[in-house]
Subunit: 170 residues, 2 copies
DNA sequence: TTGAATATGTTATAACATAACATTATACAC
DNA sequence: GTGTATAATGTTATGTTATAACATATTCAA
């Protein structure tokens, strides 16, 4: 394998496939979340874990009220605040991202990498959303912003399009 | 002037200054909007023009209900739908952009350039928001996305930070 | 001039998010 | 263990953003 190919692969992990073993994604996410909270001495309480699990049900961003509906499906009585507070905790701890263009939330695919500067690919066909993580893109962005004399705090990068699996299926 | 400096200048137009002649910005925007609508054979009706003017009151993105409040300040009775419909028209015609991270709207700084793929710098201090328009950034983004097998439809790029004027003032 | 398309008016409601304050749980010093 | 401070959750209400559905008016061309 060439160096170029290696770099490309490193920059471009696979887009989540329709039939993949998602139980594994979820299990890993929960495991890492426990580890991160332990390391940070923050508490992954019941409701926070449940919200994290709800967010990891799939690779499609989920709305706060969708999570709420899941909780209350069996006659529960959870209030919106509880969900929003859990989401805030999870975002503060780098376990979940908010997708601004969808008003929805998704599990962080790079827990522990300490990036509050994620970039997303959002399939408008299946909804699957993946983190991009491209070093060249980050460099270009940093440079373009600096050239304008602007000091960057945070960023929202959400690319809407069609994922490879939906493209191949059509 | 060197080629490099020219390129940099071309890539990095000035961030809107606090004391600039904003009446000129507004006037130009309205003039271009008329021209674009004429060319596209779409109608810049009264309410649409008024919403466009409201959006151009400053370089700070404005919320739909803020626009509504302006209209109704003198005892008017405009409904939210009217504002949202006008905004939809203006966005469809490339005259206004939505800032997803703020749920707010801003006049397009490059009318006629046919870019539904704008990128924004948002000052968290003064609120001033400018379009970025960086060719290297666009190239990096296109390439990073293509490397993932993703077909891009549209993008949301919003960089939050501190503008040069606020930085210098602090 | 009449019919189709476009634009606006009107009412209601959906969808997303936070404020404010009460209560309960946890941890830690004493 | 007891008190006490902090963190977490519960509860109620409300704020904010956006759209659905249907009625009416305007425009424009055949
Ligand atoms: Zn998965
Ligand atoms: Zn897809
Ligand atoms: Zn101006
Ligand atoms: Zn500023």
């Amino acid at each position: 394998m060439s160096q170029a190919a290696k770099r490309k692969t490193a920059d471009a992990p696979a887009f989540p496939k329709p039939g993949h073993n998602h139980a594994h994604c979820t299990k890993e996410a929960l495991r890492k979340a426990e580890a991160i909270c332990a390391a940070r001495k923050t508490k992954l309480t019941d409701i926070r874990r449940q919200v994290l699990e709800a967010v990891w049900r799939s690779h499609v961003p989920v709305g706060a009220y969708d999570i709420l509906a899941q909780f209350n499906a069996g006659g529960g009585r959870v209030a919106p605040m509880a969900v929003y507070r859990a989401l805030e905790f999870l975002m503060d701890n780098g376990l979940v991202h908010r997708i601004a263009s969808l008003n929805a939330y998704i599990g962080c695919a790079h827990m522990g990498a300490d990036h509050h500067a994620a970039q997303f690919l959002i399939c408008r066909s299946c909804g699957t959303t993946a983190e991009l993580e491209s070093a060249p893109l980050n460099r270009a962005l940093t440079q373009a912003v600096a050239a304008r004399g602007f000091t960057i705090d945070s960023q929202i990068v959400e690319i809407i399009g069609v994922c490879p699996h939906c493209r191949d299926a059509s």
